[in-house]
């Protein structure tokens, strides 16, 4: 049934994967310049090595993989997933060369976590790393959130017809504008305006909070990138707890939620359809599930008496839950405090929020709001069908940018991916438990990785078993790419061996 890929197919995939790696090399110029600016010469050398490696691989593949063929549908999916793997292997160079990683595997963990906008990390002595390396960490999540492919589309693909399939392969399938290259530009417009507003707001707040000017600017930019990309990396080991500021937290909350929106939603709201923000199935779903999880967590913590008054309760619960539900991963509590202060109910509720996740076609992860909305509507429709079948012949609708039919094939694909996520979550919980971790903690951390959230209750650590690190890397990758392109890669590999000639 499966056709064996031919040489031409390998060449196409090699060529476009190579282009993306060249893009990674160019991206590394930013941290290189940062290190030069701060006189971090050893780090400068690290980046020269890494950039050269990217360019050698990237241009090498261009020279070797000569083909005029364009990207076909299956190529696009394979390029999306394989380029993430190659980008992870090569992007880990600066991390490893810095001496702050326990192993190359640890370095790849951090880089996959960055690209997938997860935010879990294994880097040690984060508080003493170079500005150049910190710039690289944050740029990774920003680039990963925008989509490495979106970046490539903007600069490198020059209107390749099959570019759309790679875009879809990365988990974005909304066409904001008729042409996918224009869509990429619209995404950039939204992102850059938010960047200007958000980073400035954070930097100014940082200054007002007593930070030194250079640090206020760097932190403002980096925390913005972590929030918008719903990545969750922050410049210090204290994460956003470092700032001890309601203002900083509120700005971060705004950026986290905005960053978790579907880019198509941003575009609709920004081009005159403002009411979309309250009519859209995803924003509605998010509002409902966020409020419910906040309600349960607030009541549980109030009953336990952990936090003293309403303001404190609001600050801690809303921030942590927004961070979890948008799959960002910022926190203003210590990792172990999830266990010692928030307790089982807190852990459970946050796990549920992370599992549901953000909107589709955004920087966020998880099952996604649209699927939650579709499933709940389909469920209600089925209940109605069972209770009064004669009256329920009309197909239900839902609103996402426009009224759309809730037909059976849509519900089916929705359920398939949802089941894939739930299975992955379950697998992570079980395997973590088999390795000796407490079940709730293993579930929390496993869901955090698979939904690309990045909140940690202490399971993630440099001393974690290597097999678990590998499992988490795969989970982050699968979750971010929404399974399909990884399955396509698997299928491609299978076809190479067993396909019909």
């Amino acid at each position: 049934m499966l056709l064996r890929p031919r040489r031409e197919d390998h060449l196409v995939i090699g060529k476009y994967t190579g282009k993306i790696v060249i893009g990674i090399g160019f991206l590394m110029v930013v941290p290189l310049l940062t290190s030069i600016a701060f006189g971090e010469w050893d780090t400068v050398v690290d980046f020269v090595i890494s950039i050269s490696l990217c360019m050698a691989f990237g241009y090498g593949t261009q020279a070797v993989c000569r083909t005029d063929r364009d990207l076909g549908w299956s190529h696009g999916l394979v390029v999306a997933s394989s380029s993430w793997l190659v980008a992870t292997a090569i992007g880990a160079m600066p991390h490893w060369l810095s001496g702050h990683m326990g192993s190359y595997l640890d370095a790849m963990f951090d880089v996959m976590s960055g690209y997938t906008t997860t935010g879990l990390y294994l880097m040690q002595d984060l508080d003493h790393i170079a500005h150049g390396l910190n710039m690289w960490r944050h740029l990774l999540t920003y680039a990963g959130g925008q989509g490495i492919v979106v970046i490539a589309l903007t600069f490198l693909f020059k209107g390749a017809a099959g570019a759309y399939t790679v875009y879809v392969g990365e988990g974005k399938d909304e066409r904001l504008l008729p042409n996918v290259v224009q869509t990429a530009r619209a995404i950039w417009l939204v992102s850059l305006l938010w960047l200007a507003v958000g980073a400035l707001a954070l930097a100014i707040t940082g200054l007002a909070l007593g930070q030194e000017p250079v640090r206020a600017v760097l932190h403002g930019l980096w925390v913005y990138m972590g929030a918008w990309s719903t990545g969750g990396f922050a410049p210090q080991s204290y994460n956003t707890f470092y700032y001890h500021s309601l203002a900083y937290e509120l700005i971060a909350i705004v950026v986290m939620i905005a960053g978790s929106f579907n880019f198509a939603l941003h575009w609709a709201v920004w081009t005159g359809k403002r009411r979309e923000v309250v009519r859209n199935i995803e924003t509605l779903s998010f509002a409902v599930t966020l409020s419910l999880t906040v309600l349960v967590a607030t009541f549980a913590l109030a009953r336990a008496g952990v936090y003293s008054d309403a303001m404190v309760l609001f600050r801690k619960v809303f921030y942590q839950l927004v961070s979890g539900h948008t799959t960002t991963g910022f926190s203003t509590i210590y990792a172990r405090a999830w266990v010692t202060q928030w307790g089982p109910i807190g852990l459970m509720v946050t796990t549920i929020a992370m599992a549901i996740g953000a909107s589709a076609c955004s920087t966020g992860g998880g099952i996604k709001g649209i699927r939650m909305g579709v499933i709940s509507r389909a469920f209600m429709q089925d209940v109605r069908r069972m209770v009064s079948p004669e009256r329920a012949m009309v197909t239900a609708k839902y609103h996402h940018l426009r009224d759309q039919l809730l037909d059976d094939s849509l519900v089916r694909t929705t359920m398939t991916i949802t089941i894939a996520y739930l299975s992955l979550y379950g697998l992570m919980a079980v395997i973590g438990t088999l390795y000796g971790y407490d079940f709730l903690e293993a579930a929390y951390e496993g869901v955090s990785a698979a939904s690309n959230t990045g909140l940690s209750c202490g399971v993630t650590a440099p001393t974690m078993p290597d097999a678990l690190k590998v499992l988490y890397i795969i989970a982050m990758w699968l979750g971010r790419l929404e399974f399909m392109s990884v399955f396509a890669l698997g299928g491609y590999a299978f076809a190479m061996v067993r396909g019909r000639r």
């Binding site: 050269s52 360019m55 241009y59 702050h100 508080d127 080991s237 470092y242």
Partner: protein, 195 residues
């Protein structure tokens, strides 16, 4: 027998124990003021137990002092990199770990060096009240300290360029250049062939 040592055995024991305590640095000060030294790991693991207690805490000051009015925030790390950071050759020993400290700005201003890539910060000792979820600071886990004592001054850290890495940098740059040229040449060859 010397009259310096009391005859009563109980008193002898007490004296001996006090002498031992006095010989352990840091412990002497803490024991003298009656405040137990704690580690960040202990505090985060059992916040309810230590909530509201007087604690002593020693750590490297990292980042910066954030002055807010006449108070300031300091972050003290008591992890494996307290005395040396990785760039200086400290072996990897896990994540950073530390405590946030709220202290009068005047005391905070006595800190000279802050830990970052180019510096190992002053190691200071503070004593104050630990809060599991400080009501004044939005539920943050912190220590409200009144005074600060510099135990070990910090220093500049040099991250010397590794010559081996420079060799690799040169070799790989050349490889990249070769790859780039190879790509350009093949592209031009295809163009002239009239594709």
């Amino acid at each position: 027998m010397s009259r310096l040592v009391p005859r009563c055995p109980g008193v002898r024991v007490i004296l001996a124990v006090n002498l031992l305590i006095a010989l352990v640095p840091g412990c002497a000060h803490a024991a003298a003021s009656g405040v137990a030294p704690r580690t960040s790991t202990e505090l985060v693991a059992s916040p309810a137990e230590f909530d509201g207690e007087a604690v002593a805490f020693t750590g490297e000051v990292i980042g910066e002092s954030m002055e807010r009015g006449d108070m300031a925030w300091l972050h003290l790390n008591d992890d494996a990199y307290r005395d040396r950071n990785v760039e200086e050759g400290a072996p990897l020993g896990g994540y950073n770990s530390g405590m946030a400290v709220w202290i009068p700005a005047e005391a905070a201003s006595t800190v000279v060096t802050f830990g970052d890539h180019a510096h190992e910060g002053d190691v200071v000792r503070i004593s104050g009240t630990f809060n599991a979820a400080c009501p004044e600071h939005g539920g943050d886990m912190d220590i409200h300290a009144s005074s600060l004592e510099v135990v070990t001054p910090g220093h500049r850290v040099d991250d010397p360029v590794d010559p081996g890495k420079v060799v690799w940098a040169i070799v790989l740059s050349m490889a990249a250049l070769v790859a780039f040229l190879a790509d350009r040449l093949r592209a031009r060859a295809e163009d002239t062939r009239g594709m």
